[in-house]
Symmetry: C2
Subunit: 615 residues, 2 copies
Amino acid sequence: MNTEELVELGQQLRVDSVRAAAEAGSGHPTSSMSAADLMAVLFANHLRYDFERPAHPGNDRFVLSKGHASPLLYAAYKAAGVIDDEELRTFRRLGSRLEGHPTPQRLPWVETATGSLGQGLPVGVGIALAGQRLDRTGYRVWVLCGDSELAEGSVWEAAEHAGYERLDNLVVIVDVNRLGQRGPTRHGHDLDAYARRFRAFDWHTVEIDGHDVDAVDRAYGEALSTRGQPTAIIARTLKGKGVAATEDHEGLHGKPVKDADEAIAELGGPRSVALRVQEPPTARSLHSTGSGELELPHWDKGEQVATRDAFGQALTALGTARADVVALDGEVGDSTRAELFAKEHPERYFECYIAEQQMVATAVGMAARGRVPYATTFAAFLTRAHDFVRMAAISGSGINLVGSHAGVAIGQDGPSQMGLEDLAMMRSVHGSTVLYPCDANQTAKLVAETAALEGIRYLRTSRGAAEVVYGPDEEFPVGGSKVLRSSARDRLTVVAAGVTVAEALAAADALAGEGIPVRVIDLYSVKPVDRDTLRRAAEETGCLVTVEDHHPEGGLGDAVAEAFADGGPVPRLVRLAVRTMPGSAAPDEQLHAAGIDADSIATAGRLLVEQAVVP
Amino acid sequence: MNTEELVELGQQLRVDSVRAAAEAGSGHPTSSMSAADLMAVLFANHLRYDFERPAHPGNDRFVLSKGHASPLLYAAYKAAGVIDDEELRTFRRLGSRLEGHPTPQRLPWVETATGSLGQGLPVGVGIALAGQRLDRTGYRVWVLCGDSELAEGSVWEAAEHAGYERLDNLVVIVDVNRLGQRGPTRHGHDLDAYARRFRAFDWHTVEIDGHDVDAVDRAYGEALSTRGQPTAIIARTLKGKGVAATEDHEGLHGKPVKDADEAIAELGGPRSVALRVQEPPTARSLHSTGSGELELPHWDKGEQVATRDAFGQALTALGTARADVVALDGEVGDSTRAELFAKEHPERYFECYIAEQQMVATAVGMAARGRVPYATTFAAFLTRAHDFVRMAAISGSGINLVGSHAGVAIGQDGPSQMGLEDLAMMRSVHGSTVLYPCDANQTAKLVAETAALEGIRYLRTSRGAAEVVYGPDEEFPVGGSKVLRSSARDRLTVVAAGVTVAEALAAADALAGEGIPVRVIDLYSVKPVDRDTLRRAAEETGCLVTVEDHHPEGGLGDAVAEAFADGGPVPRLVRLAVRTMPGSAAPDEQLHAAGIDADSIATAGRLLVEQAVVP
């Protein structure tokens, strides 16, 4: 498009943004108006995208990091002819695809859910990495950010990652409209404040007037011709641009324009500029399929193997079988054992350094590009990326997260390194799967299963060696459990997972010696939970003890309780969990101090069987 | 100390680091050896600290951000004469104060727990802000960071904050030893890569050889004389410095030195250099006490008030009564209503912009300096700071976190803005208190109570207006609940909190009309939970329905279930919670779609009472 047409298109996007929000009675028209010219030039002259084939391997990828400016995105979709005016007017209504913040669950052209600020660029970096190292079909990744969100550290994790990896297929456009939600941003219209930060992280930068469509056009061209560096376009804009009552005015964030009709008239009224987004170049995915045959590692019963070791070996085997499997780690691959994958499949291993938010965002980006990512760090440090995991679930993203060094069982390193909240965090994520294996063969089988699941999959591994209790041919369906001790006379059931399984078995042996037969359930699938087996155990044994290397809230005990929250009869139960603040100590001392070792289980079981109410 | 003495002290710190780790059989001596000279010069010539009075208002504050280098810290404590050699040799043992990563719970000289990398600087910024704006006793804040941890976005959130606030009382020392846990860092010994990033965020920087004690000494002096900017000292060091077998060697992170005796000999053997840390200048805290009389806002029954509004007003009143109360917000003060406090007490309000990690870290820093901080943002966005909240609990930090816009009840903005995992996250934090008020008077009273609690306190507020159901004189003790409907003939109990209380009351009315009397409990204290009232309700009514605007895992339903996890009888129960992925819709449509409105409660209650097992 030429200058005049671009200006017209920008005005149309403003008008439609104002209309959509007015119709909805809520939304962010002023944040849309500032970026309208940036969007018009991008969609009209630079983006290459086939809306009929969102999966086209040559498609550019656009991420609206400032997801609240959704009216602008939908106005652009309308201009591109892929939604009609009727649908535009469903904005923010029940059942509409046009949500307050865009999500790929509802709209096929959206790469990732946004709305939690500072996440669009990190995910864009993930997609750009996939483009650079895996797809290699020449697509570009465009990310439109707000200025306020540059206060998020995640943006600078992403900037560091992109600069270091020389992602010249990545362009970030910063809509510097000077005003955040509650008032002026830190740096106002000081474009250089942003530019020099990006430059320090080894980006190419361009500073422009974001309402000068020719300058915008040139900047995009410069970005595309820049080699060896990502480009940040820092654009000076005005919030609410084009309407005197809103332009550069504070206090209007997230509010429909008051006199919408007047504003629309001031913007020159509705238009019907049709946008023809360029076709992507012919391209073919370079996907190879891998060997296709999964040869999982296996171990003999009685061997001593850490589940993190089994994980690393199984993931490596999975990577050999499937070329779409990629691994990411937060600079602890020697601990998580992701390094085994790195050695075998270096081209599909992504070192994320100590930047867990960027690691999860990269996983989301990889998943958006059809990969099956496994992102690994200590379970404790996955809390760093909680907001990214939450948003990944909203995206419907299929990612695997693996947290090693779970619980007090890690020993001497102390509480900062102990995952004691991870089960609660991962269970509370919508549609998640949470797995916690106790031995090597089980771990390997579960790794294989996770590859075929949807949504967020979490696997919890342990630092120390554990005895292999299952044979290599045993199967462990997600949603299942294993009954490790059972008799018709059982008077108690102990439900354990991971490191507490061995403790439960020892406790069961001790109690059996006292004439109390005990059932032991290995609840390796914490979510979904094996309701039937738990219910049968409750009916047959009358009471349950749960034991977990995790805080008492949100973990195994809650998972078991939930199995009985359907209105049916509920057994008496006691929860053993980590209720104290651990310090440094040896692993066995830690389990004892936390009251989750065999002795503690036996004591609790004895009391429960004797019908005593544990205080 | 002069050059020679400093060199000797550095060697002694190395020797003691090697000894402590060797004795423990674990730990991070090589990470200690790189920073030994930096530490020696700081403690000998620049730090001003009275070890006998850690609370001295003039004390400098030292934060070991690279907390795994704890042997170095403990070696320095030994040199300063505050621990003896016998205690040093308890490093990492059960019951020792000398944990793998230092915590203020055990050692009075530690400002904040570290060990999750990238958190020391953010907390240091919080302390420096307290120094600059509140204490004004002239203390300096010294933070010793590793190079690997500069990959964390939180470091750049902190850098942005410190640069913008011109914190010239803050010095960060970066121990650039080139090697992370699993191998080389991104930037190796490229000091300028780090320096230019800090400069871009408006810091003064100094690049030095971190083993040249004179250069280190001069750099500290330069930092102290720099006005209007924080200073970053970027020091080139060698990991494992001083021992040929470890110096600059990969693969030795987190491992005791193999031949400890040989290494100690190579370092010149044990020494007994005594360190005299400078006394702090005489100083007095400027604490004023406030009016001392808390005049809480109050409302009449039947008024329509959002709990976020009540929170803002109550916090403002609390700030008037108590001068130690400070407020922090993540650039959404107009939404959380923290802006009311900002208007009344601007000197004690800290705008953190959209940087939730830095916000929570600032709160931790303020708490370390004796303040009672309230940090506010959308409940959903507190997930961004999960790792900081977890570490704050390990510190034993007393901070208040307030999450507004809880649940699907926010309406049109959609899932990215809905706090649906926050209760799970906050309950799973060690020693936390979790409160979720349903009306304005209740909110105000709970705000007042939180000020006197210990540990992490979480208050969940709601966006929309709600009817005031309690009179202004009602009391709401933490750990309590309110029975809003009750009769001797109740056949069912509905347990609700926050927005679902009104729904529960409506459902109870409907069921009462059908001849099913229903008890309604307002469980405003989600943790600790009112076990007695729940147990009585279970005994008297036989069955329970819980209803919450939160995912089913880790929230109210789990809290209620936990109340029965003591081995006693358990009632039949059903949980209503948000099990679907919401989109955009009006608040009432959202509650209905999620199955947590009055109709859904009535349906579930009816089924349960009829003894039907809900599928």
